[in-house]
Amino acid sequence: MKPILETRRLTKFFGGLTAVNQVDLIIPENSIASVIGPNGAGKTTFFNCITGFYQPDDGEMIFEDRSLVGLTPNAIATMGITRTYQNIRLFTNMTAMENILVGQHPRLKASWIEAILHNPREKREEETAVVEALRLLRFVSLGGLGDQLARNLPYGAQRRLEIARALASRPRLLLLDEPTAGMNARETSEMTIFIRRLRDELGITILLIEHDMRVVMGISEQVTVLDYGVKIAEGTPGQIQRDERVIEAYLGHGAASGLNISADTAAA
């Protein structure tokens, strides 16, 4: 399958620290892939490079045959890559509906002059946007909550809203940064099912950062492991579970020997 995103030797320094070190990653189109690793492994930095917040110091990033290096974050968003955040970053003083409308920004075409003139084309575009926003709200099970302030929504709803906002621009690649953080078992499994729906129904490629192994092993088709910025393993969930280096990275040196890995983590 054609890769939708490919990074080659991606590297990012912060002063003396190499946060991302020569990482090669290929994400096949329409797949669900995960990036995992201990805290501080460079996963969020990796996301930030892809979305344009950091400029990589070396290496390439190619999205659908176009290079992402040097592009501004808004250009990258317009190309079809959006993300959610580890600690939810909604527009807290805006309503749910308004958050989603902002998310649609790249898709709306009216210029400021048309906005001032409020001509029929702009009017129609706005009305369509609202209809679409309502649809997205229902899609993430937030129907009827459009007028609620984002900061008044319960935690799980906020996470779903953030995803709805990221979906509003009809992205091709969606980056989810720890989408199940702070969720209990039931919510986690609901989120897992939801993520799969995104791929199945909307045809979006998903790249996940996750700590919850049930989620990772449950839905990922490909798992990449980072440790101290270096890719130490990559493969299917099953392969990763048995990989010695991965075990050592998580549990410490020497842990690989003398451990029995049970295969009871959910099968796909």
Binding site: A77, F91, N93, K123
Partner: protein, 514 residues
Amino acid sequence: MKVGLQNNLRLGIVFGIVMIFLMLIGFNLIAANLIGSFFNTGDADVLNMLLFIGLVGLWLGATAAKQDNLWLSAAINGAIAGAVCGLGLAGMVLLLGSLFEAGVTLSTYLAQLVPSTMKAILFGAAAWQAALVNWVIFALAGALGGILSYLLRLEGWRKRLSSIWVRQRASTSQQPIIQAIRSYPRSRMIIYGLGLVVLFILPLGLSQYRNYIIILTGIYVLLGLGLNIVVGLAGLLDLGYVAFFAIGAYTAALLTAPQPHHLQWSFWVALPIAVVLASLAGVALGVPVLRMRGDYLAIVTLGFGEIIRILLKSDLLTSFTRGPQGVNTIGGPDFHGLSSGVGFVYLIFLSILLIILVTTRLQNSRIGRAWVAMREDETVARAMGIDVVKHKLLAFAIGAAFAGLAGALFASQNRSIGPEDFALMVSINVVALIIVGGMGSIPGVIAGAFVLKGLPEILRQLQDYRILTFGALLVVMMLIRPEGLIPSRRRRLEIHEDEPELTEGTTAVEGGKA
């Protein structure tokens, strides 16, 4: 009973310091005269002064005894506070009075204490007598004030009054007439339309002077609404807005006045040119300052405003701008029969309507949403595909364009302008009027302009203390109501972010309304 002692002392000292300060700046004479005109006691200085001191004493006593449940302790607490304040004031009166009687010309050091003022302060008597009187009156008034507050239970009254007000409002809105009007589909438009008609007929009937006040306030409303786009909508704190005002004014002036360039173009030609130039200046300023954070942006724009003013005044550009002399005999539009006063009022009204339209339309479009998103979280806004640079420049350009419009109108209405018309205070005034009125809200900005510009013109008696009050008002507003007089809903949310906000249920969302 003794619990309040420290409190009373503090209250007394604070009031004492304030009273001394007011005396030193000569304010108590003015206040006394104001009170005199209110109570119709005429120009009897002594009586007015006594009244003034007495009233302040009452207020002090009432504040000191707020919590008291026994009339005796209320009186004592009030008396203590009053005595402390009075002591301080008396001491100062004694000191200054003695110096005055010894022949020292106080006014060389304390400019307001000219002999006539001193005589009034001393009640026309000897220094020690005046001091004593001050002290005694304060102590007594304090006691009385305490008793009064106990009797009236002012706190309780306030609550009762406000609940009556709320109930009355609720019952009026239930009235069938009001309901009928509200539900009538175009009712809002009709009301606005009627208001507009009234506004348009009004200037024809008013005097020249009243029209002048309206014009002045109107120009500030225009400036305020323009800056509102930059500060209120896009969240960019511009303290140098006057620069665009100046560019618009000077462009119009230099193009229509016979000196110094011997161009005498029509006003209607100069106007759009002024607007465009100001707008370009806005973009030019915007480009370098885009990446700065709040405080720095404020200072840089302030610096820019000052640079423009200094350049306009300097010898360097005198041949171009006529330096400190300014430009005279600026051409104005031909109003075909209407007096120029009235004509300008109409022009300003139309401009204000225009900017209200532009602001509202932009606010409800994706541009407006982009601005709010940028204000909330610029990083995330960028990740949503918003070109932050473009939107900031847009805000700057549109805001500057309206400042240019205001400038051109100002120049031709005033007939002459000079560099000192564009001092930093103008920028600060406009910022203040937006903040005090309510940032981001159109009625708020208009209210702000009226309070800060219209009111002082009417209260001419307080002329000398205008700026002082202005400064104090800014601080006080920030302390008690930072979101402004009539804030936009969003602004109130932003300021009180830590408090839970209840939304008014779910209503059908109306998309695309103007």
